[in-house]
Subunit: 197 residues, 2 copies
Amino acid sequence: MSGTEIEKLVKLIAKLPSLGTRSARRITLQLLKKREALLLPLIQSLTDVAENIKTCEICGNYDTQTPCSICSSETRDGSIICVVQDVADLWAMERVSFFKGKYHILGGVLSALDGITAEDLNIDSLENRLAQGTVTEIILALPATVDGQITSHYLLSRFKKYSVKISTLAQGIPMGGELDYMDEGTIQLALNSRKFL
Amino acid sequence: MSGTEIEKLVKLIAKLPSLGTRSARRITLQLLKKREALLLPLIQSLTDVAENIKTCEICGNYDTQTPCSICSSETRDGSIICVVQDVADLWAMERVSFFKGKYHILGGVLSALDGITAEDLNIDSLENRLAQGTVTEIILALPATVDGQITSHYLLSRFKKYSVKISTLAQGIPMGGELDYMDEGTIQLALNSRKFL
């Protein structure tokens, strides 16, 4: 592969999630082939993002403004905060466009294995929002993993002193899910949380 | 997903080969998270490539110079030209570092289905190189597909008038290949081209 510029770009692209050297090479070639249609617009778009996108000082969301458009929205209910692990989860929630409250992005979950403690997460800033007294409900929409559940428990015990309702997302069989394809844990969970009609 | 800049970037990244909207979202988030380590270097590297990489006027390779470093190399044998479909194939050949001749990139293969004719490929420029009389051998390293073979046959009949040896890459069982996993076509080919020891 001649041209150190090209090699450098391949190496950088290969660092992106879900990509390896092979796909990085294909992407680089595609960019070189479609200079006007792809390479130049991509540079422009990345530059726009680098220059304009900020982290919201309240919730941790990415937006062109801080506070972000959700935090500064008049039509969204500021008394309900949905706590998510990551901006990707906020995006997933927003795609449903069902939740009309505000968000708080933890930036991860507690993990003994990865050495992630409460200080590494945006928990203090969440507590500050609760301390202001306008929040009445928190929905913990953290991942349904052991670390996610530990984090939920930690937040529950830490925020008990505030007069807020705390809930987590329901767990069970997903929509369209067939029992045959579900793991034992999910079936047990769905049985335990069965709803009487 | 708030911020039209972000949405625009996700859409652009999703256009790259082997990526969809889902992985484009993950990549965008990773870029936003690692602004200094990933986003800014990527912009710089893409800009470098856009500004410095040219298409070689002789062989069609990408390089910072034209003629490219291979075409202008004194140590490589200009009398042998390896004809490949794409720059990716040139890179693959160069990774082996066995071939010490020069290259010619066709930019595709003939395809009745995709409406690709000889005029769409860099065949005239290849003929010009042959007409200069210094080339004594052409290796057709085109894909082992029907279109690739048709292209090889076309080039063979078109270049018959020049006094050059024309060969194609050997076909058969790949290194480490087990018969059990080979398709019938490959086995038949390997049988037909069997080597007597």
